[in-house]
Amino acid sequence: MIDYSIKVHDVSKTYKSGDIRVNALERISFMLKKGEFAAIVGPSGSGKSTLMNILGTIDKPSSGEVYVDGIATAKMNGDELAVFRNKKLGFIFQAFNLINGLDAEQNVELPLMVTPMPNSERRKKSDALLVQLGLGNRLKLKPSQLSGGEQQRVAVARALINNPALILADEPTGDLDSKTGEEVIKLLKKICKDDKVTIVMVTHNLDTTKYCDRIIHLKDGRIEKEELVK
C-alpha cells in the first residue's frame, strides 16, 4: 500500500462578488506520497495561490476535502486549524516573512512558542537546525542583518522546526538571485529525501522544477496536466 501524505479530494473554491461567481478552483484532486517534492505551476490567475492557501488551511474550500496525514481539515474551526498548522505544516514564503524585531534563533523558534516545549530544548533544536543550514555564525542576527539567501534559510529552518508532514513553499526563490535560488531548491530537495517531508512548491521558474518529483500544471482553476519527473 502506498503511504500517501496529502490527499486533495474534489476541491472547489468559488468567490462571489455580487451576482458574479468566480470559480478559482474547480474539482481539484491529486495525491502526494510521503517525501514527494511537488511543484505547482501555471499562469497568474490559474488558482495556484488559492490552492496553496487551502493546503495551508488559511483558506477554506467551498467544497471538497484536504487530508494531511489522514487528517481532514475542511471542517475544523480556527483554534483547531491553528493547532493543526502548528503540528503538521511548515511555511516558506517568497518574501521570507521573518519577524524583524526578533533574531534568527527566535524566528526559528516561533512555531514552538505555542507548544509546551521547554525553552532550553527549543533553543537546542533551533540552533542545531541553523547550524545544519550553515547559519551557525548568524544565530543572534536580526533579519535586516542577513542576506536574502540567509533569510530564506532561516525561514526554511522555521518551517522544519516542528517536524511537519507538509511544507508549503510559495515562490521560495522569487526574491533571490538564480544561484542562491538554486541552492535553496537543492536544500528543499535534500530535506524531502532525508527527512521524508512532503513539499508543495509554487513556482514561476521552470528551471527549478527539474528538482521536483511531480509537476502539477494549473490553468483556469483546473488541473491541466500532471507529470512525473524522472
Partner: protein, 440 residues
C-alpha cells in the same frame, strides 16, 4: 506561550518604535505623576497641620477677638473662673517688617509671657541665645526664618546680640530698634507664626504696638472631655465679639477642606489618565494596523487568537508599567518642586493677610481658604522633625508619599493601559490569517 516569549513579542515592537513608545509612555507618566504629585501635597499639608494641632493639645480652645477693642485682663480673669479651665494664655500680635543687613522680611510681632510661650510651643528649642524675661524691656527672640531669610537661601542674616530694626505696618509705620537675644529653632507650621515671629514679652509688645489689650487668648481645659462644654460656654459668654475654636474643630475644618482639594486633584489626575488611555488606544490601533502582516505570519505558524490577544495586551501592560514607574519618579520630583512653589507663593502673600491684625488663624475659618505662609525652605528632607509648633498660620510641610498611594498609582496606570489596549488587542486577535498575510 511562556512569559518570556510574550515579553519578547510585545517588547520588540516597543523597542523598534522608540519615539512612538516614548510618547505613549509620557502620556502615562503625566497621569501617574500628577496623581503622585497632587496627593502627596494634600497628604503632606494634612499631616503637617495635624501634627501641629495635636502638639497644641486636644484641650486647647482658641479665642480670637472680632472687635477692635480686643481682650483685656478682665477677660483672662473671667475665663480663669470658668469651670474646667486649667490655664489662660493671652497673646498679642501685630504685623511688622524686620530690617537687618539690607534684608527686609515681613514678620509678626508676638507678645506673650515666657510661661505662655512654653505652653504654646511645648518645648522651647533655641538655636542660639536665650529667652526673654517678663519685663517691659523690649528684647526679642526671633523665629528661624527671620534669622535665616528665604531670600538668602539658608544663610544667617541676624545673629544674637545684634539689634534689628522693626517697622510697624499700617499708617505711620513707626520704626523701632530691638536687641535680639535669642533665635528659635524651626518650628514649621504653627497657629502662631513662630518661624516668622518676633517674640517679646507681653509688656514689651503692649508698649511697642501701643495697645493695652490683646487679640488672642489660648484657653486650656482640664481634660479632653470638657473641651466641648467649655467652648460652648465661652461662645455663650462672648457671643459675636470673639471667635471660639477648639483644636478638634480646626482639625475637622482643615480635613474637610483638604478632602475637597483631594477630590479636585484626583479629578484633574483622572482627566489626564483618560487622555492617556485614548492616546494608548490610538497608538495601539496604529501598531495593530502596522503589524497586520506579522499577525498573519504568526497565525500561519499556529498562533491562536488568544496568543495574539495576549501579546497585544501585554504590550499595553508594559506601557502601563514603564509609564507607572517613571511617573512615580517624575511625580516625586514634581512633588517637592510643587511644595516649594506653593510655599513661595505663601511667603509673598504674607504681608497682606497679616495686616488684618487679628487674622492670624487663617485656616481656622473656612472662609479665608488660604494659609499664610512662613518659612520657605522646603527642599527634600530639609525640614527635620521640628514641626512641634502649633498650627496653621505658617505653612511648612514636606510632601508625603505613602506606599498605598504609590501602589495605587501604578495599579491605576496598569489598569488604564490594559483597558485601553483591549479593543486594539481584540481587533488584532480576530484578524483572518489569509487577509493579514496579504497586507504588506
Amino acid at each position: 506561550m511562556n512569559l518570556k516569549d510574550i515579553f519578547w513579542l510585545s517588547y520588540k515592537d516597543l523597542r523598534e518604535k522608540k519615539i512612538r513608545t516614548a510618547l505613549t509612555v509620557i502620556m502615562v507618566v503625566i497621569g501617574v505623576a500628577s496623581i503622585i504629585a497632587l496627593t502627596s501635597q494634600t497628604q503632606g499639608i494634612s499631616q503637617s497641620i495635624q501634627t501641629s494641632l495635636e502638639s497644641l493639645g486636644p484641650t486647647s480652645i482658641i479665642l480670637t477677638s472680632s472687635s477692635s477693642t480686643g481682650f483685656t485682663v478682665a477677660d483672662t480673669a473671667r475665663l480663669s473662673t470658668l469651670p474646667n479651665v486649667s490655664s489662660v494664655i493671652p497673646i498679642l500680635t501685630g504685623s511688622v517688617n524686620v530690617y537687618a543687613n539690607s534684608q527686609n522680611v515681613s514678620a509678626t510681632l508676638i507678645g506673650i509671657s515666657s510661661e505662655g510661650l512654653q505652653s504654646l510651643l511645648g518645648v522651647i528649642n533655641l538655636y542660639q541665645g536665650s529667652i526673654f524675661q517678663d519685663t517691659i524691656a523690649p528684647s526679642a527672640v526671633i523665629g528661624y526664618s527671620i534669622a535665616f531669610p528665604t531670600a538668602l537661601a539658608g544663610k544667617q542674616n541676624i545673629i544674637v546680640g545684634q539689634p534689628a530694626t522693626i517697622k510697624l505696618s499700617g499708617k505711620g509705620g513707626e520704626t523701632l530698634t530691638l536687641p535680639i537675644i535669642g533665635i528659635l529653632q524651626r518650628y514649621g507650621t504653627s497657629v502662631i507664626p513662630i518661624d516668622t515671629g518676633v517674640i517679646v514679652s507681653m509688656q514689651a509688645a503692649e508698649v511697642l504696638l501701643h495697645k493695652d489689650s490683646f487679640n488672642i487668648i489660648l484657653v486650656k481645659a482640664n481634660n479632653v472631655s470638657s473641651v466641648n462644654e467649655l467652648s460652648l460656654l465661652i461662645t455663650t459668654v462672648y457671643g459675636s465679639s470673639a471667635r471660639v475654636l477648639t483644636t478638634q474643630q480646626l482639625l475637622e475644618t482643615t480635613s474637610s477642606i483638604i478632602g475637597s482639594i483631594t477630590i479636585l486633584f484626583v479629578i484633574i489626575a483622572g482627566i489626564s489618565l483618560v487622555v492617556a488611555a485614548i492616546g494608548i488606544m490610538n497608538i495601539m490601533l496604529i501598531a495593530v494596523y502596522e503589524r497586520t502582516h506579522e499577525i498573519g505570519i504568526l497565525k500561519a505558524l499556529g498562533f491562536k487568537n488568544r496568543h495574539i490577544l495576549t501579546v497585544f495586551l501585554f504590550q499595553a501592560l508594559l506601557i502601563g508599567i514603564i509609564g507607572g514607574i517613571i511617573g512615580i519618579l517624575v511625580g516625586a520630583g514634581a512633588s517637592y518642586s510643587l511644595s516649594a512653589i506653593i510655599s513661595g507663593a505663601q511667603a509673598s502673600t504674607n504681608s497682606n493677610t497679616r495686616n488684618s491684625g487679628s487674622g492670624v488663624f487663617v485656616a481656622g475659618s473656612a472662609r479665608s481658604g488660604s494659609f499664610s505662609g512662613g518659612g520657605a525652605t522646603f527642599a527634600a528632607g530639609a525640614s527635620p522633625a521640628t514641626s512641634s509648633g502649633a498650627g496653621l498660620s505658617s505653612l511648612s510641610y514636606s510632601p508625603v508619599f505613602t506606599p498605598i498611594t504609590i501602589l495605587e498609582a501604578i495599579l491605576v496606570a496598569v489598569i488604564v493601559s490594559v483597558v485601553a489596549g483591549v479593543y486594539p488587542a481584540i481587533r488584532a486577535s480576530k484578524m483572518e490569517p489569509i487577509e493579514a498575510l496579504r497586507e504588506l
